[in-house]
């Protein structure tokens, strides 16, 4: 059982602050590191993996500093985001080389075990250069698992995977977490995190925005007011019909892209989406466009930060 502690860690590059005063503890089980692109997830993972020094604060594994401490790699397995992985080697040679670099007592056996774990035994004698993206990802996993590490760090592991490979990886990660390993993976896709991690840490713009149980954060994310932009053949009449509905908090008739449009704020996303077309139909109004105005992850995250 191992624990990574990040204490008041910041990292800046010149004038740009990538990670700003973050404190979090990653313990056994699966933790999802969630945030939009450019939020500082990779910077955090690089600090936890010992490939970036915190500009301020501390990053430790079981009390030991990680930066410039190659001994920590006995406990850490690292799955980098980048694709390159010795294309000229076969999968089996790559796994074996990793096991040998760890100076394991029986590298051959360890390599085979890791290959079995990620189900790459069949393709293990092909050169890595010929692998698909999903196979590469699994090979990278195998390289990180040869020494049976207590901590596994995965940087955007689901990128570019097809649904089947995704399912497989989710199963694998869940298995590791259940076995008491400390598993951390980063993602910018909410639905991915939902299927794997019970516990999530949210970072937005370099700051630690939220931490805790997934359902809790999901509720925070869905219970916010939702905005829609609606265009129809009679905006004014539609406005009065919409405001009568329980799910609608506010309606504004405003300029929109050269013409006019309704800006609607709904308290209950599900109820409003179901009701809007019925209301329009009942009043004989033709809807031209119904656009959720703030469904991008960035705006969801931004809401979390300000609330």
């Amino acid at each position: 059982m191992s624990t990574i502690k990040i204490e008041q860690a910041s990292r800046w590059y010149g004038n740009v602050v990538a990670v700003n005063d973050v404190t979090m503890t990653i313990g056994p089980g699966v933790t999802g590191l969630l945030g939009p692109n450019g939020a500082g997830k990779s910077t955090l993972i690089h600090m936890m993996g010992g490939f970036l020094a915190p500009s301020a604060g501390a990053v430790t594994l079981d009390g030991e500093p990680i930066w410039r401490n190659q001994g920590v790699y006995r406990k850490i397995g690292l799955v980098p985001e980048r694709e390159a992985a010795y294309d000229f080697l076969t999968g089996r040679q790559f796994a074996l080389a990793n096991a040998k670099l760890h100076k394991l007592p029986n590298p051959r056996e360890a390599a085979e075990r890791a290959l079995r774990l990620v189900e790459m035994t069949e393709a293990a004698d092909r050169a890595i250069g010929t692998y698909s993206k999903g196979m590469r990802q699994r090979m990278k996993m195998a390289s990180a698992l040869v020494h049976d590490p207590a901590v596994l760090l995965l940087d955007e592991p689901f990128n570019g995977m097809d649904p089947r490979q995704r399912m497989q990886l989710i199963e694998l990660i869940n298995g590791m977490g259940a076995a008491g390993r400390t598993v951390l993976f980063s993602s910018h896709i909410l639905e991915e995190v939902e299927q794997v991690a019970a516990h999530i840490e949210v970072v937005v713009a370099g700051r630690h925005a939220a931490s805790g149980d997934f359902r809790e954060i999901r509720r925070l994310m869905t219970d916010r007011p939702h905005r829609f932009v609606i265009r129809s053949d009679d905006d004014r009449r539609l406005a009065s019909a919409l405001i009568a509905h329980d799910s609608v908090g506010a309606v504004e008739l405003a300029a929109h892209g050269g013409g006019a449009a309704l800006h609607v704020q709904a308290a209950d996303f599900g109820a409003f989406v179901a009701a809007a077309p019925q209301i329009a139909r009942k009043n004989g109004i033709r809807l031209w466009e119904v656009l959720p105005a703030d469904e991008s992850l960035e705006s969801v995250f931004a809401y979390l930060v300000t609330s």
Partner: protein, 238 residues
């Protein structure tokens, strides 16, 4: 030193397209030697400048540049180095293994062709050829250490290496004798000069100074490279 790093590096070097240059340059030199031999015959007055200008002056720095930067720079560039660094392996042994690979390749693709070209040009005479071979060996060690260091600290290692070897040593050193006092090529030539009789051009510094200088450059470059690799920071693709 680490056997796994050594074998990964050797395979990586000989597998990359860039390594074709390693074969091409010596072949050009040997071919040139054969042509000269056929036209001029055995003539020490042509053999010495040929070995000095081509073997020591062009082949050695270029092969060392390809090998020295090639053993580590591409790995850092595309992030593969993470698989070596995320291991409980001392940084010292990683850099030493990389350096040894570069030296072995440089000796194989410089010293051996120099011997062949020398024998072709001199008809197997005993004198200047062993001196030039020895010069390429000590030169290979120092050049490789410098170029491995460049590969660790810069993304433009090849450019800086070329600037140093061709512009500083060959061009500036060719016109400004003082510049040759700070030149791996000249120091390597010092050994050659001391091992041979009557070579004509005198090196800027004697072998007694040049050899310690070569050793010092090698050790300092190695130590700095190890330090820099210990604090290598990785950033994402963006």
């Amino acid at each position: 030193m680490n056997g796994t790093v050594l074998s990964l590096t050797f395979r990586g070097m000989l597998g990359r397209r860039r390594s074709l240059l390693l074969f091409a340059l010596p072949i050009v030199m040997i071919a040139l030697a054969v042509v000269i031999r056929l036209i001029v015959g055995v003539d020490e007055d042509t053999a010495v400048p040929m070995l000095q200008r081509f073997a020591l002056g062009i082949l050695l720095p270029l092969v060392a540049l390809i090998a020295g930067t090639g053993v580590i720079a591409p790995e850092i560039d595309d992030g593969e180095i993470i698989y070596l660094l995320a291991k409980p392996v001392s940084r010292w042994s990683i850099v030493a293994s990389k350096l040894v690979t570069a030296i072995v390749l440089t000796v194989a693709f410089t010293t051996v062709p120099t011997l062949i070209a020398g024998v072709v040009l001199t008809g197997g005479a005993a004198d200047p050829v062993p001196g030039f071979a020895a010069g390429t060996i000590v030169g290979a060690v120092a050049y490789c250490a410098v170029f491995v260091l460049l590969g660790v600290i810069s993304r433009h290692a090849v450019v800086f290496g070329l600037l140093y070897a061709l512009v500083w040593e060959t061009l500036v050193g060719g016109y400004v004798p003082g510049a040759r006092a700070v030149s791996v090529q000249d120091w390597a030539y010092s050994l050659t000069y001391s091992m041979s009789t009557d070579l004509g051009t005198k090196p800027e510094v004697g072998a007694a100074v040049a050899l310690p200088l070569l050793a010092a450059v090698t050790v300092v470059a190695l130590c700095v490279a190890v330090q820099r690799l210990r604090s290598l920071s990785l950033t994402g693709d963006s």
